[in-house]
């Protein structure tokens, strides 16, 4: 074997490449990580998380040094956001009380009442930019299972596609194949969201389609989840309509912009069911 390794490295490399390709074919679409993957990921994830945090610290430092105006803008944006959330909180409290009364009255569990949230730090992004997955440091030990929904305060991030003991991989909404059932908050018209609207190779938003023909949709309308499909609870914020498609565009009805910054996700909330 040693002689073969010295004299025929090309042959060994080609054989190994063929084996790796076979392994790749076997692992496509697989839902649960193997024991070896689990062990390696469990060992490496803390270091990866530390490196990731250092990266964030360095990025923040350079942003402060070179873009002080960006910090000021960010500060103003966050201040506005906090005020908006405070107003919304008051509304939510009133709605929560009303909801509790109605739920008790009608004797059924509200959809959002069936879920708990788990906060998980993002430790890595995938190398293949066409697959759009991120890795989080929380797995089956934390109650995560496949197909669970991941969100942030800014909206929906994606759904869990693979689970290890201490980590999970999420396919994000930036992926062309992600589809979720949504509705226009104002008119309650239901439709489907998924697929990217592209301009010059850059994503500008997500396609909204299958709306009723008489749907009264307008730029600025808020899009929320409809609860159909069972993965995303009803009423989660998704994004806002940024433009309507031309009438002769048979592909989609409107373009929806998510507020989630997929490139700089640091934590996500995974929606756990009550059973977990």
């Amino acid at each position: 074997m040693r002689k073969l390794w010295r004299n025929r490295p090309v042959l060994i490399a080609l054989l190994a490449a063929a084996l790796f390709l076979a392994l790749a074919a076997l692992t496509v679409g697989r839902r649960t990580a193997s024991r070896a993957e689990d062990m390696f990921s469990t060992a490496v994830l803390p270091v990866q998380e530390a490196v990731s945090q250092m990266t964030d610290a360095v990025t923040d430092f350079f942003t402060r040094v070179f873009y002080p105006s960006a910090i000021q803008e960010e500060n103003e944006r966050l201040t506005r956001l906090v005020s908006a959330y405070e107003r919304r909180l008051i509304l939510y409290e009133a709605m929560e009380q009303e909801n509790a009364r109605l739920t008790e009255l009608l004797d059924y569990a509200s959809a959002s009442g069936d879920f708990y949230f788990l906060t998980a730090p993002v430790t890595a992004r995938n190398l293949n930019p066409y697959v759009d997955t991120i890795t989080i440091r929380a797995g089956s030990r934390n109650g995560i299972t496949e197909q669970m929904a991941a969100v942030t305060a800014q909206g929906i991030v994606g759904r869990i596609i693979e689970v290890g003991a201490t980590y999970a991989k999420i396919r994000t909404m930036e992926n062309e194949d992600m589809r979720i059932s949504v509705m226009v908050e104002r008119t309650r018209d239901e439709g489907m969201l998924g697929g990217l609207v592209m301009e010059n190779g850059q994503m500008v938003g997500l396609k909204l389609y299958y709306l009723p023909k008489d749907a009264d949709i307008q730029v600025g309308d808020t899009i929320v989840t409809s609860g159909l499909g069972g993965i995303f609870p009803k009423g989660l914020y998704v994004g806002k309509v940024i433009f309507l498609a031309d009438e002769d565009n048979g592909e989609y009805d409107a373009c929806v912009m998510s507020d989630v910054d997929f490139e700089h996700l640091e934590e996500v909330l995974v929606i756990l069911s009550k059973d977990n």
Binding site: I12, F20, G29, R125, N126, Y130, E176, D177, N200, G201
Partner: protein
Amino acid sequence: MALKKYFTLALAFIAALFLDTAVLPKWNLFHLVPFVMLALMLAAERLFSLQDAILIGAFGGLLEDILCENMIGLTSALCLLAAVAFHQITQKNELKPAIAGLLFAALAFLLEAARALAAYVIGMRFSVFGALVYGAFPRAILTGLWGLLFLALFRPLLKGQVDSQ
């Protein structure tokens, strides 16, 4: 003496692993993320031997796949094919550093195209033109530059241990 080479390569390997999976995807300048492990592997092939490149490509690709990907082994397979192609070309031709950099970039472009193809085959849908022109091409150029950086760093560090091809 060989110890110094392996120590340096091991350090570079660990750095490349974390740069690829945790650091560079976060900085993500203009959506451009180079493939540092591939650059390291090709630089190792150029300066040392195909065997060193095979070890880096196989293990580096596999570990990065486990940490971030869904098709475990794809990156390793593509890295190994890139190493063999590079070896075949450099065996018959004397390359200047600039040409080596261009060859790094060309192989990185082919690898990115193969990744896009693999993603397409498993059902991902995206603009092929956008993926190649706005994704693969600039990533390949950056990977080529990282390869040149590794060549420039390793030569003085490992004086006397670099194969004079």
